[in-house]
Amino acid sequence: MDAPLYLRPRVDPPLASLLRAGTFLHSLVDALGSPLNVLLPETVAENARRFRAVYSRHRLTGRVYFAHKANRSSALVRRLAAEDVAAVGVDVASLEELRHALSCGFTGDRILATGPKDAEFLWLAARVGATVNLDSPNELEQLSALVRTHGLGRVAVLVRLSGFESADGHGGAGTRLLSRRSRFGTPLRDAEELLSALERNADAVELTGVAYHLDTTGVEEKVRALEQCVLFMDTCRARGLAPRAVDIGGGFGIGYVAEAGEWERWTTALSEAVLGSRPPLTWRGHGYGLRNEGGTVRGAVALYPGHRPTAGPGYLDELLSLPAPVLGRSSANLLLEHLHDLYIEPGRALVDQCGLTLARVLDVRLADADSGHHLVRLGMNAGDMSLEEHGVLVDPVLLPRGKPEEGEEGPVGVFLAGNLCLEADLITRRLVHLPRLPRPGDLLAFANTAGYAMDFHAHRAQRQPFARTVAVERQGDDDWRWCPDEDYWPIPSPGGTSA
C-alpha cells in the first residue's frame, strides 16, 4: 500500500480530552445507541467570546448572532442565551427556530429573523419584538400589512442587499469583481424602490440596519459589499432614515484538518488519481468535481477547503483589517468612524469544536481482494452525519472497544458505509486511512460535526434510529457528566449523570 493519506482532524483541548475519555463515550453509546451526537455547550460560549475579542480589538460595538440552522440543539442555544444580552443574539430562519430560541431564554430583542419567511413566522417575530432581516420590498409590504392589521408595534428591520459587483459605476475599462448569484436579498440597483417602500411604511417598520450575506470564502468580495453597505447607509441617512447596524452575515468558516501538509498531499493525490497516474482514492473513482479531459484536469473541485489557515474569529479580523476599495480605510475603521454597529451571524464557526458524532462499527470485510481495502459498515447513515454532503473531508478517530491484539496490522484504507440498503449510502466516498483496522464494537468518532454535519440531513428513511443528542460537561480533570440535550440548562443542576 502507498503511504497512508491521513486527513486527521483539528481537535482543541476540551474536545481532545473528551476523545481521550473512550470508556465514557463507549458507555454513552451502549446506553443511548448508535449514532450518537455529543455536544460541549461551554465551547459555544467560549467561541462567542473569541468573536467578541475581535470586536474589542477593533473597538467595535454590536452583536454576534448565532445562526441557529447550523445545529438544532437546545443545549447550545440555552448556553448562548446565558451570555451577555448586549453581546450575543440568535439568528432564526424558520418559525420553529424562532419558537425554540424563545423557549431557550432568548427575548425577542435579541433575535434576528432571517431567511424565507411565511406569514406566521413574520407575525410571531413582530409580536415578540424581534428584528426582521427583510429579503425584498415584497416582504416589507407583507410585514407592514401584518403590523397594521393586528395593531402591532413598529418592527425593527434590516434590509438585505445583494448584487454588489455592478455597483461601482465604472464606465468602460475598469475592474469588476464577479460574485456568485444569490437567491436572497434585494439587488443594490433596485435600492430606490426599497427606500421608497421603507418611507411609505414608516408607520409600521423602522430601518435599523443594512445586511448582506455572500456565499464565498473570498474576503475581497465581502469587503466590497461591506463598503457598499456603508455607502448605502449614508443614502438612507440623507433620506431621513436612521440605520445604525451593518450585518455582514456569516461564512467565517472552520479549519477541519489539523495539518496543511496532509490536506495538500491528499488534494494533489486526487488530481493525480483523476489523471490516472495513481490508483483511485475514492469509491469507483469519484472525482469530487474534477474530471480528466485528454490528460488535463478540468472542472472545479467541490470540496470544503479542509485546512484553512485563517477561519472563524481570525477570518473576521482579516476582513475587518482589509482596506475598502473606494474609501481606502480598513473595514473596521469604516464602521467605527461612521458610528455603525457590527452584526455578524456565524453558524458553523460559532460551533467549532463544539461536538462530535459517534458511530459503532457493525461489520468489517474486504472490499475487494486486489486492493486490500476494507468496507466498514457503521451504525449510522449518510443523513446522520453529512460531512460528505458538505464537502468536508476529515478522518474519524478510532475509539477501540478493548485493547488492540498483539501484532495487529498497521495503517489500512477503508471505505465507510452506512446502515441503509442503498448503494449510495456511503459515509465517505473517499478511501479513509485509519491507524489500524477497526473491529465490530469499536467506535468511530467524527470530530467537529456540530456545524451542519450533525443533523442537517437526518431523516427517518428505513426506520433506522435517529441520533440522540447529549450535552457533556467536564467535572474536574477527566471526569465527565452528561445529560440529554433537551435537559441541559446553563445553571448548576442536580441533573446529569457522571461517567
Binding site: 468602460g172 475598469g174 475592474t175 464577479l178 456565499d215 461564512g251 478540468r298 467605527l336 461612521h338
Partner: protein, 445 residues
C-alpha cells in the same frame, strides 16, 4: 536598429553569464536568458504576439475584444497589441493579487474581471462555475470575443520553439545547454524551448519549477494548477521541483543587487531553483576537468512587484522614521502627557469657551461628511501624522479639541502635540461614539 513597429522588437533577447562568484558553482556556467528585455517587459510578449497576430489581422476593421485568462504579463502584452490594432482587451482571472499589475493594466486600457472566491456552503447542484460562463460567452454566436487561449493554444509553444529555443542554441555557439530551467506558468516557454533544444540534442535535461502548494509566486502555478493547463505534459520535464516565495525573493535580490539584473520574483525563483538543483551535479563534476552549461529564464522585471515585496519582506523597503511622530510614543508616555475632556465639559467648552477651541475631527472625509460636531474641521489621521513631522500645525494661542471614533487615536495625538509644546490640547474622551451616546448634537451639513 530601426523598426516600423514595436512588434519587430520582440525576441532576440540577450543571454548573460552569471558571475560564478555569485552562484558558487565551480564547474557549471550559468546563463540568464533576459526575456524581461522584450519591449512589453516579459517573456509573454512572444506568445502574445504569435497567438494574437492572426486574430488581429482577421479583425482589422474590428470592434472586437481580445480576452484571456491572465493575471499579468500575457494580459499586459495583449492589451498593448490590442490597443495598437484599435481593439479592446479584457482579462479574466482570480489570480491578480499584485496591485501594481492591476493598475498598470487599467492604464493600458484593459478591463479586468475578477472571478469570485470559492463557496463557503457547498451547493452540490451548483452549475454556476464562472469559468463555464466565460466559455459560454465566448462560444455565443453573436460574440465578438477573440480568445487567445494561452493555456491550450499550440501557438504559445510554437513562439518559443521557433524563437527562444533557437536563440539560446545560437548564443551558445551551436550547442545546447546541459540543463534548461524554467518556471511553469502556461508551460509555453518550458515546452517550446525544451522541444527546440531536444531536436538539436536530446541529451539536454529540463527542470520545471512550480510554486510550493500553499504559496504564491506571481506567474508560476502550483503542482495541482499545472495539471489544469492543456499545454502541460509531464514528459517535457526530467525533473519537477517546487520553490517557495521566500526562495523567489532571495533569488530576485541576488540577481538585482549582485548581477545588475532587474528581475522580478519569477526570475528569482528560476535562479534560486537552478542553483539549488545544480549544486549536487556541480559537486560530482569536481576534479573531472569537465565543464557544463545551464540556462534559466528571467521572465520579467522587478518594478511591478514592489507591493509583493513589501508584504513579504518589508525590511527590504524599510525607511527610517523622521521628525515627530505620534505612533512612536509609548503607552506610558501617552498617559503621562495627554489631557482628556469628558463630553459634558467639552460641550460647555465648545459653546461658551473663551476663546472657543478649534475642534479637529480625525476621521475619514466620508464619515465626517455623514455626521460631525458642528463647526469642527476634518483632518484625516494619516494627514495629521504627516503634519506633525514638520512641527506644530496650530498656533499655541489656539486651544484645540481632538476627536476620533473612540478617543484612542486622538489621545495619542494630544500627547504628541503637548510634548511638542502646545499648551492647550485636549482629547475628547470616548470620541465621537461617546459624544453620540451621550446625546450630544451631531450635524450633517
Amino acid at each position: 536598429m530601426r523598426y516600423d513597429s514595436i512588434t519587430e522588437a520582440i525576441g532576440n533577447t540577450p543571454l548573460v553569464r552569471i558571475d560564478p562568484a555569485v552562484h558558487g558553482l565551480r564547474n557549471i556556467d550559468l546563463y540568464a536568458k533576459l526575456e524581461m528585455l522584450n519591449p512589453f517587459g516579459s517573456v509573454k510578449d512572444r506568445p502574445a504576439w504569435h497567438m494574437a497576430r492572426p486574430l488581429l489581422e482577421g479583425a482589422a476593421d474590428g470592434d472586437g475584444t481580445v480576452v484571456e485568462l491572465s493575471s499579468g504579463n500575457t494580459a499586459k502584452a495583449l492589451a498593448l497589441l490590442a490597443g495598437m490594432h484599435g481593439l479592446k482587451f479584457k482579462s479574466v482571472t482570480n489570480r491578480m493579487r499584485v496591485p501594481e499589475i492591476k493598475d498598470l493594466l487599467l492604464l493600458l486600457g484593459a478591463e479586468i474581471e475578477e472571478l469570485p472566491g470559492r463557496s463557503e456552503c457547498l451547493d452540490p447542484t451548483d452549475t454556476d462555475d464562472p469559468l463555464t460562463h466565460f466559455h459560454q460567452a465566448l462560444s455565443d454566436p453573436g460574440s465578438t470575443y477573440l480568445h487567445t487561449d494561452q493555456y491550450f493554444n499550440p501557438r504559445n509553444v510554437e513562439a518559443h520553439a521557433a524563437g527562444t529555443g533557437p536563440e539560446i542554441v545560437k548564443d551558445l555557439d551551436g550547442k545546447v545547454p546541459d540543463w534548461f530551467i524554467a518556471c511553469v506558468g502556461t508551460a509555453g516557454s518550458s515546452t517550446g524551448v525544451a522541444r527546440a533544444l531536444r531536436e538539436h540534442d536530446p541529451r539536454v535535461r529540463v527542470l520545471g519549477l512550480v510554486a510550493h502548494k500553499s504559496d504564491f509566486i506571481p506567474g508560476i502555478r502550483t503542482i495541482d494548477e499545472v495539471h489544469q493547463v492543456g499545454l502541460f505534459d509531464p514528459a517535457t520535464y526530467d525533473t519537477i521541483e517546487s520553490v517557495t516565495s521566500h526562495e523567489a525573493l532571495d533569488g530576485m535580490i541576488t540577481l538585482i543587487r549582485r548581477c545588475g539584473l532587474l528581475s522580478g520574483p519569477t526570475g528569482g525563483a528560476a535562479y534560486q531553483g537552478a542553483v539549488r538543483h545544480l549544486r549536487q551535479a556541480d559537486a560530482e563534476l569536481e576534479d573531472t576537468g569537465q565543464r557544463r552549461t545551464a540556462v534559466f529564464i528571467v521572465c520579467d522585471r522587478a518594478e511591478s512587484y514592489l507591493s509583493y515585496v513589501r508584504q513579504r519582506r518589508p525590511e527590504l523597503l524599510g525607511r527610517a522614521g523622521r521628525g515627530h511622530s505620534a505612533s512612536a510614543l509609548t503607552d506610558a508616555e501617552v498617559r503621562e502627557s495627554a489631557r482628556v475632556i469628558g463630553v459634558d465639559e467639552a460641550l460647555r467648552w465648545t459653546t461658551t469657551g473663551e476663546p472657543r477651541p478649534l475642534v479637529v475631527d480625525l476621521r475619514s472625509p466620508h464619515a465626517y461628511a455623514a455626521l460631525h460636531i458642528e463647526g469642527s474641521v476634518n483632518i484625516v489621521d494619516e494627514l495629521f501624522e504627516d503634519l506633525l513631522r514638520g512641527g506644530l500645525p496650530f498656533s499655541k494661542r489656539t486651544p484645540v479639541l481632538l476627536a476620533c471614533p473612540v478617543g484612542e487615536k486622538s489621545l495619542r495625538y494630544a500627547a504628541a502635540l503637548t510634548r511638542m509644546g502646545h499648551p492647550d490640547i485636549r482629547s475628547l474622551e470616548g470620541g465621537i461614539v461617546g459624544w453620540r451616546d451621550a446625546g450630544a448634537p451631531l450635524v450633517r451639513e
